[in-house]
Structure formats: C-alpha cells, structure tokens
Subunit: 145 residues, 2 copies
Amino acid sequence: MLTIGKLSETTGVKVPTIRYYEQIGLLPEPERSTGNQRLYGKAVQERLSFIRHSRDLGFPLEAIRELLGLSDDPNRSCAAADEIARRQLGEVNARLSRLLALRGELERMLVQCSHGTIADCRVIEVLGNHDHCAHDHHGEPVTAL
Amino acid sequence: MLTIGKLSETTGVKVPTIRYYEQIGLLPEPERSTGNQRLYGKAVQERLSFIRHSRDLGFPLEAIRELLGLSDDPNRSCAAADEIARRQLGEVNARLSRLLALRGELERMLVQCSHGTIADCRVIEVLGNHDHCAHDHHGEPVTAL
DNA sequence: CTTGCAGCTATAGTTGCTAGAGCAATTAGG
DNA sequence: CCTAATTGCTCTAGCAACTATAGCTGCAAG
C-alpha cells in the first residue's frame, strides 16, 4: 500500500493532481489509514499511469474518462477506443498544420526586423496589419492544445 | 465612432472579448454615448486588430501587453519586440516537435489496433504502459498551446 | 520528545475567454 | 408614434486542467 506521496513518485503525477483526479471521479476514493491518509494499491497505480500517459499524448480528460469506461468493460468492441484515438490524431494533425503556418509567419517577421527603433519595427508593424501575412492560415484562434 | 458590435464585426473579435480586454486593461476605457454605450474610434480599432493578430499567432496576452507598451513608446529599440517574437518562435518550435512525436505514437497505436474486443485492444494497452512507446519524447506535460 | 516533513481539507487563483441573467437603449417595421 | 426585435449594459458564474495557499493533523527519525 502506497501513500499519496509514493504514488506521486512512482507515476510522476503531482500530489494535488492525484487528489484532483479523485475529486472529479477519474480515480476511485481510496482506502484510508487509521490517521485518515489515502492508501493506494497496484490497480490504482496502473490506472493513474494510464491517465498520465494519455494526458501526455494530449487526450483531454473527458476522452480519458471514456477510455477508462471502455477498459472497465472488456467485452465491448475495440472500435470505440480506436475511434477516440483516431479523433485525437485528427486534432493533432490540425494543430500541426496551424503551428507550421504560424512558425513561417514568425520567422518572416524576425527576418525582416531591421533592429532599428520601434518606429520602423517590422515585428510591430506586421502584428498590426493582417495584410502583411504571406497567407492567412492563422484565421482560427489558437485555443487549447 | 463605432459601437461595440460594429467594432466586433470589423475586427473579428467577439463583443464579450472586447469588454474582457477592456476589463484587463488591454484596451482603454472608451467614450460613452448619452445612453452609456461604448463608442470607439479608429485608434482602438487598430489596437484591437493588433491584439487579434498577435493572439492568432499564439502570443499570450501578457506578451501582447508588453508589445503594446513598446509600441506606445516609439523611440525605444526594436530589440525588445524582436526578443518577444523570438521567444514565441521558440515555443512554437517546442510545441511542434512534441506534436510530431505524439502523432507518431498515435499512428503506431492505430496501426496495431486489431479491431477485436477491448480485452486485446492495443490502444488501451499502449496507453496503459509507457514501455510500448517507440521513444519517450512525451515526457513533459502537454500544457497550454 | 520534539522537530520537521508529509498529509489533510477547503478555497481561491491561473489563462483566455464564453454564457447566462436581468435589465436599458436603440433601430426597424407597420 | 408605437411596438417588437435587436443590441447594448453590468454582474456573476463557468470552462479545462490544474496550481497554490492557509491552517490544520499525522507520523517517523534523531
């Protein structure tokens, strides 16, 4: 049985984050010691590693909740999990293309910087005027990752 | 003089967002009509376009606040603006490499999916175990974009 | 035994908005 | 000129996914 601190160490998830996951129902309420401290077994450790890994891959907590629901019920088809991963891949690809356009824009801005005073600073000028863009691939706002 | 709705239309920034920018001090408090409605001139329109464009390029509001401070004072050196843009470019590059690693991981997961039941679903299994990763480029948490 | 870290609960803050309630003002139609 | 629809106003709360703080208790080592 691990205390929350040990669980945190072995999984790489910070202590307040573990408590947060419990609060939102991603982790079950654990046993408590006589002194009211949380005690975790191996199963929760694996569940938490699963969450951590999925988060690292960019899955939102709601997708992870779905995936956990699926894996808690092993007779269902794999297709649902596949679907979630596929959706996630689509989003990653969308973010990638946006970031690539963005990088081009930033690089163009920096190359043009004349290192003079603000009065003729290309960075400021480019930011103030959409017309300076080579393309306007940056129409949609940059929201969550 | 534009009402907030017209300003929203011409800049593509939503009405509540404009009020929010005013609230946090990115936009000055505007004149009001006799009926207490906000009235905006050309200068604010340009300032808002600047903010919008910078946000589109992924600059956080605090960086934009800095940039606006610089452009309000046109005798200062361009170097500071250059620095902010360069920092932004670095962050974009970091996000890009993370996303590329991520995409590889997701593609690998999907290719391996056997389309059977959850019991032998590769997606679930891979997510539960870091050892399945080809590389562990996804060590750092995925935070804000 | 006591000191100091680890744990506990509960609340508030973060970023960048977005949505809703419950009003006042303006504009368009008849 | 009156009414209805739209737009505007303020204020508050909510979103993700945590992080930080305050003020307390538990526990293990010296």
